[in-house]
């Protein structure tokens, strides 16, 4: 038993050493590779934190709605607050890599689809990545399903074009994008160019009439109004609906006769502290997320570039770069786009021309996964999670059962659709956007919470139905 645990620890060191060697050797070969290494090491930290804190949005809302345990929701809010604080500092310096996205009702609808999907799959986009690192076969299937769905959805036209409103089609054509992109063909192309891009990008600083890249805009507008107050409100709601009654029960048992504001304040603080492990992970995640933005922007200034596409061109790898010379290079934590890219790259190699759409051909490209900065981040995230799981003796290859595999594929499919409609997942469309004061983040979040609620209720109904069937079978 002890021997097996020691072997796992050696494997943890081997994985860490492997990433270290990649960083050193590539940097020695060409210093431009340091840009990719920055993505790698922050991805590694994210993986370690996610595994340590069991940081999963699906589990968080499932625990809350199904059994009334708020531990992880509280942890997620703490992480968001800390990330927002660090982000505000980076934004105030004027060197933030974050760009708000066009937001509207579509953000909430996308979140709703995503929320249902993550409950069905048993893990959100980031949660499935870290669980893959633990050797979980179901989580790997979820990642695969999200990736294939997104990659296909980005390029599907044909009969799907008939579902596009005429106004979207006309608006997409009017954008006068390069002919090779063919913006008038493909559902997602017309959705993006004909509908989403017509929406404004709104930050809380902007709504308060402040400049985004100023101290007051970043801290008063984006942090205080956009994150701190809504997060506190959410925590108070969680306390009153799910925790308050337990606090009253426990205090009554302890002999406290009148329960007033002071007792509730103690109960509220207890709720915050009950999520110690998730909160610690959230704390490190929040700081790391902000630091990644700081480092990436510093490297961009140092290397004299605006996008990693320039690095790949300088290194002699210009295949798979978008017609604007760019590749997906968010400068912060992101999950789903690179998942679409690696499948998109494979499909392209197999003969599918998927470079004539906006998602791949105009914005993100489909570079070789071995040179895709965001892919380095996701692979290192899986590696970081594996390292933590190996050290804590929690790593185990788990084969999925047929039933779980079906749910994983359905959930992954819904998450893939939700991600593309919402321009990101629980990380890119919620966590990062909320922390940076983007109104769209909360809209996606509201949808996601609603979707998670529907998902949990559906699952309860499904489980009860299955159990009733089994009981009926036993009676026969």
């Amino acid at each position: 038993m002890e021997n097996a645990a020691n072997k796992k620890k050696i494997w943890a060191l081997v994985i860490t050493g492997f990433f270290g060697m990649i960083s050193i050797l590539t940097f020695a070969y060409n210093n431009l590779y340091i840009y990719l290494s920055a993505y790698l090491w922050f991805g590694f930290i994210y993986g370690m934190c996610l595994q340590y804190g069991r940081f999963c949005f699906a589990s968080a809302f499932r625990d809350l709605f199904a059994v009334g345990v708020p531990r992880m929701v509280v942890g997620i809010m703490i992480a968001t607050l800390l990330f927002a604080f660090v982000s505000s500092f980076v934004t105030a310096t004027g060197f933030s890599t974050f760009h708000p996205s066009p937001s509207g009702i579509h953000s909430a609808i996308a979140g709703l689809i995503f929320g249902v999907g993550m409950v069905f799959a048993g893990g959100c986009a980031s949660g499935s990545l870290y669980k893959t690192g633990e050797g979980n076969g179901v989580a790997f299937l979820v990642v695969l399903s999200i990736s294939i769905t997104q990659s296909s959805f980005a390029d599907i036209g044909g009969w799907m074009n008939k579902l596009v409103p005429q106004s979207w089609h006309e608006s997409a054509i009017a954008k006068k994008l390069p002919e090779v992109i063919n913006a008038g063909d493909g559902w997602l192309d017309q959705y993006l160019a004909g509908y989403v891009w017509n929406h404004p990008t709104v930050t809380f600083a902007k709504m308060a009439g402040l400049k985004n890249e100023s101290l007051s805009g970043a801290f008063l507008g984006n942090f205080l109004l956009g994150v701190l107050l809504p997060a506190l409100l959410l925590l108070v709601v969680v306390y009153f609906i799910w925790v308050r009654k337990n606090v009253i029960r426990d205090m009554s048992k302890a002999g406290v006769k009148s329960i007033g504001l002071r007792e509730h304040r103690t109960g509220f603080w207890g709720m915050i502290l009950s999520s110690k492990r998730t909160a610690i992970a959230g704390l490190i995640l929040g700081i790391a997320c902000g630091l990644q933005m700081f480092v990436i922007e510093g490297l961009r200034i140092k290397l004299g570039i605006r996008n990693a596409g320039e690095i790949l061109t300088l290194l002699g790898f210009d295949s798979g770069i978008s017609i604007r010379g760019t590749v997906f290079d968010p400068g912060y934590w992101y999950v789903t786009t690179q998942e679409a890219q690696w499948v998109g790259w494979v499909m392209h190699k197999l003969g599918w021309n998927n470079m004539d759409n906006i998602f791949f051909g105009y914005i993100n490209g489909i570079p070789n996964p071995a040179l895709n900065p965001a892919d380095w981040m996701s692979l290192a995230l899986i590696g970081g999670a594996a390292v933590m799981a190996l050290i804590s003796n929690e790593f185990k290859f788990k084969k999925p059962t047929m039933e779980l595999a079906v749910w994983a594929i359905i959930g992954g499919f819904l998450m893939g659709i939700g991600s593309r409609l919402g321009l990101g997942c629980n990380i890119g469309a919620f966590f990062v956007r909320v922390a940076n004061g983007d109104r769209g983040g909360w809209l996606f979040g509201i949808g996601m919470i609603g979707g998670a609620y529907i998902g949990v209720k559906f699952f309860n109904w499904w489980t009860e139905r299955q159990m009733a069937k089994e009981m009926a079978g036993l009676e026969l």
Partner: protein
């Protein structure tokens, strides 16, 4: 704390620490942490050399 975890944390800190250190000088050069209002990388050309090139263009204009 587990020794393996400690080694992993030290290695990760070393690499990320290097990355942070590597990315700070460009910010300083761009004037982010100073009170300079204009941001941007300053020219490294020697003042005398700069004047030499300016004079060179003047003489070309005369010709």
């Amino acid at each position: 704390m587990d020794r393996t975890l400690l080694i992993v944390i030290i290695l990760t800190t070393l690499f990320t620490g290097f990355l942070i250190g590597y990315s700070i000088p460009p910010y300083i050069q761009a004037g982010v942490f100073s009170e300079r209002k204009e941001k941007g990388v300053e020219s490294q050309i020697d003042k005398k050399m700069e004047q030499y090139y300016k004079d060179l263009s003047k003489s070309e204009e005369k010709e």
